[in-house]
Symmetry: C2
Subunit: 147 residues, 2 copies
């Protein structure tokens, strides 16, 4: 029941891009520095998100990555699905054919219920919310320094 580094890093990468893309594309090296993740590994994280259409890239000097859509259109469920594979706590939920009892299996019904609940929660969390939370958090932190 763990989220792997791919999923966790992916979320942080998107958040990083969202908060730094005002002045043009954000380059991998800077993300890597800020997030303390190797560039090489980061590429493996960001590449699927490019394929999934969360970010755009441009090559060469002044290149980098930018969000490909509004941050309110990217949900946690999207990110995790792309980086960790479909949210599926037990295979038989998504692939009933793998077990002949699936149509009458009480256990399967349970996993299905758990899965639905996870999906619903994740779908309700957007990148935009995170960005806003971060802003208010920063504000309160800097405020505490002033006081």
């Amino acid at each position: 029941m763990k989220i792997s580094t791919k999923g966790r890093y992916g979320l942080r990468v998107l958040l990083d891009i969202a908060t730094h893309q005002e002045n043009g594309p954000v380059i991998l090296r800077d993300i890597a520095k800020r997030q303390r993740i190797s560039e090489k590994y980061l590429w493996q994280v960001i590449n699927p998100m490019k394929s999934a259409g969360f970010v755009n890239s441009s090559r060469g000097a002044k290149g980098g990555y930018m969000l490909a859509k509004g941050s309110s259109e990217i949900t946690l469920l999207d990110v995790i699905s792309v980086l960790e594979g479909p949210v599926c706590v037990v295979d038989c939920v998504d692939e009933p054919a793998t077990c002949d009892r699936s149509s009458v299996c009480v256990a399967r019904a349970v996993w299905s219920r758990v899965e639905d609940s996870i999906k619903a929660t994740m779908k309700g969390i957007t990148l935009k919310q995170l960005v806003e939370n971060e802003k208010t958090l920063e504000a309160s932190v800097s405020l505490s320094y002033v006081i």
Copy 2:
């Protein structure tokens, strides 16, 4: 985001015991046959549940396992916590000390929210419910044969 065999088998084992313990202790070999799991591996599943106080065991002839408490007192969250370890999608949620940013980390807040939702869902599912679901399911299946 997968539940491993330990957790899945554990649930099935409890359900199996609950539905077969009327005539005394249920032996591992029978559970193994019915659930198509090796006895050896099954022991690794049932042993933590014994330690956790879900089942009692008696040794020797006529021995076996029985539920140690009412099926309404065992929740899915209990079972999974015992067999898969604490429900924790990301370490920093349960152990804030592992990361110095944890107190101001937006990502962590997200994982915490996901975790809480999973826990709440699992806590709401009791073994008793499963037993009852199975009964009604059996009834409807046998009915369909009669018709």
